[in-house]
């Protein structure tokens, strides 16, 4: 085989690899979502995060507006501190925005739902959401139900 043919074939081979990688990155991974665009962090305290994971969705009105960055426990208060990345510039959320831990479907993943507030003031980077509602834990619900049944 002539060396020139080999060189052309190998060039085509490497090009095919690069094209495939770009395809996988752009078309399959959707590389531009949550990548270069600006984000800022806010925190929220929940009494129970039950099954929320890092990188879970943060959504408002059903649209993803951010991701969970980290989840830590505050031992002295006994609640969970969740740090979220919100897309956009600080100031796009009202100061009395609420946060709830919700579930996608019956068995789906946990995510954080933000409910809009009416305050004139806005949340700055690093601020904390005060109005929160933790995850509904099935065992607690059943427990409450049974005790109420007993009372009535």
């Amino acid at each position: 085989m002539r060396m020139r043919t080999i060189e052309i074939s190998v060039g085509g081979f490497v090009l095919a690899g690069i094209v495939a990688l770009i395809f996988l990155a752009v078309q399959v991974s959707g590389v531009n979502t949550g990548g270069a665009s600006q984000t800022y962090e806010i925190t929220a305290r929940f009494d129970d995060v039950a099954g929320l994971r890092e990188r879970a969705k943060v959504s408002m009105a059903g649209v993803t507006v951010g991701r969970v960055r980290s989840i830590e426990v505050d031992m002295s208060w006994g609640d969970a501190v969740v740090t979220m990345e919100i897309a956009g510039e600080p100031g796009n959320l009202a100061a009395d925005t609420g946060a709830k831990i919700l579930t996608e479907g019956i068995l789906g993943a946990r995510y954080i739902g933000l409910s809009p507030g009416g305050d004139e003031e806005t949340l700055a980077a690093g601020d904390e959401i005060t109005e929160t509602q933790g995850a509904l834990v099935l065992e607690n619900l059943i427990g409450d139900f049974l005790t109420n049944m007993g009372k009535s």
């Binding site: 990688l21 395809f23 990155a25 399959v28």
Partner: protein, 259 residues
């Protein structure tokens, strides 16, 4: 009984010696400054181990993607979740099947050929005559083949993944009628660039290292007889397949295991 234990010990020692020889071979071939004059040799080897493997890779990728999509679709359709075919397909391929199946095919197609070629060079004393001429066969013969394997396998894996996803799309969207928009957007939503694509690519580099190392060593270490060559070729495929699967488990444990 004593003979059995003695035999066991002897086999273990000879295995250990082979591992030592393999390590020395690899270090001697890859150490030192890579010679830029040898790029032509690497290109030629990439042609042999990479470009010529493209046909088998593309054919297998298309079939595997199509089969996966068919299985996912029939099961997911029972829950009305046909659009999840895209994300399932992409995650399975990028994380596991792409790197592993490509490496197995590569070991069968290119690894065995490498072993046979180097083994025959040794049997016909081409390697020792090179040494006579003052050319280091490790640098001239072995090193370009190891580099070619390391470069080719990730490229082949990327092509494999792309073709398999395409094959899955043909079956799920064009044939069975899943929604194309849901197929692609579900994929884009759930696939992370480093977590899935990047870690899969790290796997494939490790597999490339293992397969070329085993293939080259088995050829270099083969007894110079017809029987020895046959044994060495078989061993290349068997050992590298087992190593690929075992190291895949370890890598998955390290990458995705939560403990």
């Amino acid at each position: 009984m004593v003979g059995f234990v003695r035999n066991l010990g002897a086999r273990f020692l000879s295995w250990l010696a082979a591992l030592g020889r393999a390590t020395v071979l690899w270090v001697r071939a890859m150490s030192g400054r890579p010679d830029w004059q040898d790029v032509g040799l690497v290109v030629k080897q990439i042609y042999h181990v990479g470009f010529l493997s493209l046909v088998i890779i593309i054919l297998s990728a298309f079939s595997i993607g199509a089969v996966l999509a068919l299985q996912f679709y029939t099961q997911l359709a029972r829950f009305g979740a046909q659009e999840a075919v895209g994300i399932g397909l992409a995650l399975v391929l990028l994380r596991e099947l792409g790197p592993v199946v490509t490496a197995l095919l590569f070991a069968g197609r290119a690894g065995s050929a490498l072993t046979a070629e180097i083994g025959l060079m040794k049997t016909t004393e081409q390697l020792s005559s090179m040494e006579m001429m003052g050319v280091d066969p490790l640098k001239r013969i072995i090193a370009p083949r190891i580099w070619a394997g390391l470069i080719s396998l990730p490229i082949l894996t990327a092509v494999f993944n792309m073709v398999a996803i395409f094959g899955g799309m043909v079956v799920a969207v064009n044939w069975l009628g899943a929604d194309a928009g849901g197929f692609w957007s579900g994929m884009r939503e759930g696939v992370e660039i480093w977590e899935d694509l990047g870690k899969g690519m790290v796997k494939t580099v490790v597999f490339g290292l293992l397969v070329t190392w085993v293939a080259v060593f088995q050829g270099y270490d083969a007894p110079p007889t017809a029987e020895g060559m046959a044994m060495a070729t078989t061993r290349t495929v068997v050992i590298s397949s087992v190593l690929i699967l075992a190291s895949d488990f370890l890598l998955t444990l390290v990458f995705y295991g939560e403990f």
